[in-house]
């Protein structure tokens, strides 16, 4: 199939970006979206031009590196699917596809489609862990966790940190990402101990990094590759309010 591309090119953080048009004449419907971009880069490299830079690692939907805006939708037209899991069969012969980086003040563009998402790491570093003294592995049945609790915590833990929720949100809010970690840990007995401090620290970090607030439009869950529930955000608010009322 023939695909026309309009791709965001930007040399670095300090230069202005622009859309560049390319046409690929031999795109296979079974190619993944990233393979299609690879074929473009091969062509550009042969012509001695600078290839389009984009982030990717696992190419199997688990690392969260590959997110870009495709036709104005984070990770493209398929709901709950990461860019690397999107295939060209989702497009038609002759389509024009716009590819842009995720945009938010907290996500500066590094080059082309690559953005700096280290803000998300900083939020996790502010409290998204359980402090334990290492030692011998404890007896497995000493802390009981029901199947439902562990499944529910695992649903929250499934976030791959791709940033699509922030790119999709009209306020560039990191509420879905941050709350997924907060409620994952608040749902388990090991995490509950530090929940108040963790929640306040992570929320404060999120605020300092210039992410916006949540207005419950629920767009984030629709475009999230892992279908992380917006109810995590409500649980974050609950944990935060509880922590503030107690302190």
């Amino acid at each position: 199939m023939v695909i026309h591309l309009k791709i965001w090119r930007q040399k670095n953080q300090h230069t202005k970006g622009y859309l560049e048009s390319y046409t690929l004449n031999e795109v296979d419907a079974e190619m993944s979206f990233l393979e299609m971009l690879d074929s473009l880069n091969l062509k550009l490299a042969k012509q001695g031009e600078r290839p389009v830079e984009f982030d990717h690692d696992c190419r199997e939907g688990i690392c969260g590196q590959c997110g870009v805006m495709i036709n104005g939708i984070a990770h493209g037209p398929l709901k709950n699917t990461s860019t690397c899991q999107l295939h060209m069969r989702s497009f038609k012969d002759g389509d024009t596809i716009y590819v842009e980086p995720f945009k938010a003040k907290a996500f500066p563009v590094i080059r082309d489609l690559k953005v700096d998402r280290s803000g998300l790491d900083e939020i996790i570093a502010a409290g998204g862990y359980i402090s334990v003294n290492t030692g011998q592995a404890p007896e497995a049945n000493s802390i009981l966790v029901s199947h439902e609790e562990s499944e529910s915590a695992f649903d929250s833990a499934a976030c791959i940190g791709c940033g699509a929720c922030i790119a999709t949100c009209k306020n560039a809010s990191a509420a879905l990402f941050t709350s997924a970690k907060i409620s994952q840990l608040a749902k388990l007995p090991q995490g509950q101990k530090e929940s108040s401090k963790r929640t306040v620290d992570m929320v404060n970090r999120m605020e300092e990094l210039d992410f916006g607030h949540c207005t419950n439009t629920e767009a984030c869950q629709v475009e999230c590759p892992q279908d992380i529930s917006v109810l995590n955000i409500a649980q974050m608010n609950y944990e935060y309010n509880k922590a503030k009322l107690k302190s």
């Binding site: 309009k6 965001w8 859309l19 805006m69 036709n71 104005g72 939708i73 984070a74 716009y98 842009e100 945009k103 938010a104 003040k105 907290a106 996500f107 999709t168 009209k170 306020n171 560039a172 809010s173 409620s183 929320v203 404060n204 605020e207 210039d210 992410f211 916006g212 607030h213 949540c214 207005t215 419950n216 439009t217 629920e218 767009a219 984030c220 629709v222 475009e223 917006v230 109810l231 995590n232 955000i233 409500a234 649980q235 608010n237 609950y238 944990e239 935060y240 309010n241 509880k242 503030k244």
Partner: protein, 221 residues
């Protein structure tokens, strides 16, 4: 409130003031349903009711809470909207993000601004005239607010203005009601689905309830 920088705290204030305003909307509507009585009965009863409200100390205290709520809610909405605008950075050339959410959930500031503009007009035309203007008295010796309402809604354009503002309020509530519960931390899935349904019913009931009055007043005169 400029000193509270944290947006969850600011949103809590929006949610609590918003819910208080929702409660007021119900009471205000029930009181105003008296306008739907037969003409002369409505005149005496409505004017008596208005006189009672403006002289009762408890009602006075609640009304201060009301003014404060409108102010806090509005100031917070401006603060958060500006903050969100800054967080957004540059915009997309091709933007189809709208497919993932309802238009009214993204336009709360716009809908709220219409409601605010309406409130200014509404206060100026009724509240201000009743409190500080001169109104004729009815046969009981109470200020004839009913007569003022009746005359105001003789104009079709005025009725339509009310209709438009009420519709905007309806959409504001369609998103705002359930959103407020999420903001203060209701995360149980079962209660959330109940609240979502209650919110829809509430928004529709308030919209239709408030629609009836101006159109009815227009038709009887």
């Amino acid at each position: 409130m400029w000193f509270i920088k944290n947006s969850i705290t600011r949103k809590n204030l929006m949610a609590l003031t918003g819910l208080f305003l929702c409660l007021f909307l119900v009471i205000h509507l029930l009181g105003n349903f008296q306008l739907l009585l037969p003409k002369e009965e409505a005149r005496l009863q409505y004017n008596l009711y208005s006189d009672f409200l403006s002289n009762n100390i408890l009602v006075k205290l609640i009304s201060y809470g009301l003014y404060a709520s409108i102010l806090i809610h509005t100031l917070d909405s401006i603060y958060l909207t500006i903050k969100a605008k800054k967080a957004k950075g540059s915009s997309y050339v091709k933007d189809n993000r709208g497919r993932a959410s309802k238009w009214y959930s993204r336009q709360m500031m716009f809908l709220g601004s219409i409601v605010f503009a309406f409130l200014v007009i509404h206060f100026k035309d009724f509240w201000f005239v009743y409190k500080f203007g001169t109104l004729p008295l009815d046969t009981n010796g109470n200020k004839d607010l009913y007569g003022l309402v009746l005359v105001s809604f003789e104009n079709l354009w005025y009725v339509l203005l009310y209709g438009f503002a009420i519709l905007s309020l309806g959409f504001h509530l369609l998103h705002g009601f359930f959103s407020a519960f999420r903001t203060i931390g209701l995360y149980n899935p079962k209660y959330n689905s109940i609240i979502k349904t209650v919110g829809i019913v509430f928004a529709i009931a308030i919209t239709f309830g408030y629609f009836i009055i101006p159109f009815y007043m227009y038709l009887i005169d």
